[in-house]
Amino acid sequence: MAALAVVLLGALGMIALGLAALQRAKPSALARLPALTTMPAACAFAAESDAAEAIAGGRNVSFRAGDATPWTGQPLRVADWAASKQSLLILTAGKDPASDSLLLYDPRTGASEPAGQRRASTLLPHWADGSGRVTEQQDLEIGAQLLNQPRVAGVPPASLVTMAVRVIQRPDSSQSLVFGALRAVLMDSAGGGCTLTINWDGDADLPLIDAAWSGDGRFLAVLMMSDPGRLGPTALRVLDMSLGQWRTVQAEDGAISAMRWRPAGHELYFTVTHLDEPERLDTLTAIDAGTAAPIDIAGAPELFAPAYWGFVFSGDGRVLYAACGAPDADGVLRTNSICRWMVSP
């Protein structure tokens, strides 16, 4: 327990360092979180939808490969879409997390520039949400204070401490999901909130990896590790806020490594990493969260494994971007380009 506390404090310190720069770059304030100091009661959502059975005959979406833009310096990761700039946020790794850098890349012109004073790292994904906004330091501090109450006995799974507290605002700003490590709280902007119970059928709390709201805020997708004691397996669950019900998204033959909502719809895309098959790239898969029907993808791109935050839709959802490349002489996949696929309809 003490070990976790120490590590999380260390992580928070790094957050603070990074966010000092973020604050300078983004002075406009977001809606602030209510200053909850104790974990609120559990949310009253149904554990699993009775209508969770997939509906046959889902919609079809086709992908057509476009061009690839070579990128100098690697590795790189297509981290996010900055709506205000109509640009991609590109992460390039430095020698350590503190020297990772974030660039804005305009796919229309091919121009890139430093993303203001913003800094990012693979360790602390604080560029966060899809609108290009960053999270206020105060909100992170509130979230951290609320969530960082270690209750893991013994040595925690290492992955726990890679996950900083994140705050993801619902598109209408009415709520924010605050999550980190083993806990997630849905906080209302007007005050109050409730604790999400995500692993309702298991024996242990599970580390959360990522979460994302659908464009209209109806759905909340949560990616978590599905085994408390080992790396690899993940589970993806979707909460339908309008029905108050969860649904589990099954991935066949692998671990879900990344997820993205396609803007302006209920299409949830995710990549599946094929465990024990290092020669295979990740497979892009999708469901329609509204109907639970799988989406039939024609020309589905195969992405680098694992495409962790490695694919991004443009703001209109018509283009998908991802880092791509080729194996080097040692067989290690190296990203050296930004690839794009045209998506229709």
């Binding site: 070990a3 590590v7 260390g10 992580a11 790094m14 590795p75 990761r77 790794a93 020698k95 350590d96 997390p97 693979t122 360790l123 013994g154 040595v155 290492a158 992955s159 726990l160 401490v161 890679t162 996950m163 059928d201 024996d203 242990a204 580390p207 990896i209 590790m225 599905s226 085994d227 408390p228 004691g229 080992r230 790396l231 690899g232 397996p233 993940t234 589970a235 589990t248 099954q250 991935a251 066949e252 033959d253 692998g254 671990a255 879900i256 490594s257 990493t273 465990l275 024990d276 098959e277 290092p278 494994a305 694992p306 962790y308 880092a323 040692d330 067989g331 290690v332 190296r334 990203t335």
Partner: protein, 438 residues
């Protein structure tokens, strides 16, 4: 009228120690081993791999670790120290570095000792397999998750860094892992000393998935991992189902359908050795030592399920159904030498052993691993012994033409031992809460 109540279809509590002592006796009985001498494959002492920053679930970020990097993957926990190696890729000791830091990422050290022991063998064999085919491996879950410093995170920094398991300051968890690693063993196909591909996955219900191109990876029934017990569930989420089910191994080691939390949803069978786990999940394989010599037994079997027989009465037929798996490296053929194989039983009271009269024949040619047929064993000869605690052991027999049948246990493979309690004067068919549970 006497009755016999099986305390130990799941031998917990009191039954545990009794079953273990029985097992230990058999194991100590100088088993005949089919050793070989020539070895083409030389088990490696070192392994080379490239080390990357990892995502939260162990995926490869594509960012190689360099000196000073404190990212997860380069170190066991983000921000805790920095990448400890001077190079990347690295060449490190298989036993004193690689496996010590792999196994705790692949299986919780809180798992049962035999599950950990099986995981160690599977992880070592998996690494050997990649080395043997000159794979360029890395530290991500595309292979096996390796993060520097994970072993040390379970206690103090070992005071013997060159040979951590020889340290004098190990924690309980560290010692447990070191015990599981004490003998470098690996799995090979029956006909060769090269390592097999020992894939393993987190969990898989009912029946594992085969991989036709790889010897050893045959789909096998795994009934203890199921979705129907109403208490906990086995899941295929995030797994591929090939080879050993890690959660399944924990279930067999606990004798429960639930791998986590308090012991509940007890299963009718519990296993007591890593070999039972390994030969169940990996089909037709041999276990070899650090020199490549085989150190296993050629006649092996596992019970997967025992139904009926909770209460046996003397003088009447008592039916018991046993799901039997051939875990030997070869099929149980019937020919001029071996007339067939049967499942039998023995009653044990102290030093007294009585061969049971009943037996159930297994099909000729039953192949290793799969299928695992259910056979009916009828027990009519419940001994009339004084009330007390005894053993009923199930064992396979090979019927050799012109000589006495050979119990598998006489070769050294432990029989399946159940603790039974002989009671008196049970005149009504009532449930006796006699199973001792944790």
């Amino acid at each position: 009228m006497h009755g016999v109540v099986l305390l130990g279809l799941l031998a917990h509590g009191f039954g545990l120690s009794a079953a273990m002592s029985s097992f230990a006796r058999v194991r100590a009985a100088a088993p005949s081993r089919a050793g070989n001498s020539a070895s083409a494959f030389v088990p490696p002492q070192q392994i080379s791999l490239r080390v990357f920053r990892l995502t939260a679930n162990g995926g490869n970020t594509g960012v190689e670790c360099t000196r000073g990097d404190s990212s997860f993957g380069c170190v066991h926990a983000a921000g805790q120290g920095t990448y400890p190696y001077a190079t990347n890729p690295i060449t490190i000791s298989m036993e004193n570095d690689y496996l010590l830091n792999v196994v705790p990422q692949e299986m919780p050290l809180s798992f049962e000792p035999i599950a950990l022991e099986a995981q160690v063998v599977a992880a070592r064999t998996y690494a050997y397999w990649h080395i043997n085919r000159s794979s360029k491996i890395n530290n991500s879950i595309s292979y096996q998750a390796f993060v520097p410093g994970k072993f040390a995170a379970y206690g103090a920094q070992p005071d013997n860094p060159g040979e951590p398991c020889a340290s004098g300051n190990l924690s309980g968890s560290q010692s447990k892992l070191c015990t599981a690693m004490r003998a470098p063993r690996y799995l090979s196909p029956a006909a060769s000393d090269v390592p097999v591909l020992t894939e393993f996955s987190a969990d898989w219900p009912d029946r594992t998935i085969g991989r036709a191109s790889q010897p050893g990876l045959v789909a096998v029934d795994d009934p203890i991992s199921n979705t129907s017990n109403g208490v906990c569930t086995s899941t295929s989420a995030g797994s591929h189902g090939r080879g050993m089910s890690q959660t399944g191994a924990q279930r067999w080691a606990r004798g429960t359908q639930c791998a986590y939390g308090a012991a509940r949803a007890f299963w009718s069978v519990r296993w007591w050795s890593a070999e039972q786990l390994l030969f169940h999940y990996y089909t037709g394989v041999r276990l070899r030592d650090a020199s490549g010599a085989t150190i296993d037994l050629e006649r092996r079997w596992n019970p997967l399920l025992i139904a009926g027989g909770e209460r046996l009465s003397p003088g009447v037929p008592n039916a018991m159904t046993v799901k039997v798996q051939n875990t030997s490296p070869a099929a149980w053929e019937c020919d001029d030498v071996v007339a067939g194989h049967t499942l039998g039983y023995r009653w044990i009271s102290g030093t007294q052993e009585i061969d049971g009269l009943g037996q159930a024949a297994l099909p000729c040619g039953l192949g290793p691993g799969d299928p695992s047929p259910s056979v009916s064993l009828v027990i009519t000869d419940v001994p009339v012994w004084p009330p007390g605690t005894y053993s009923l052991t199930l064992d396979m027999r090979a019927h050799i033409s012109g000589s006495e049948p050979v119990w598998f246990s006489s070769d050294g493979w432990a029989p399946y031992s159940m603790i039974v309690q002989l009671t008196v004067a049970i005149t009504q068919a009532v449930w006796l809460p006699a199973i001792v549970r944790e």
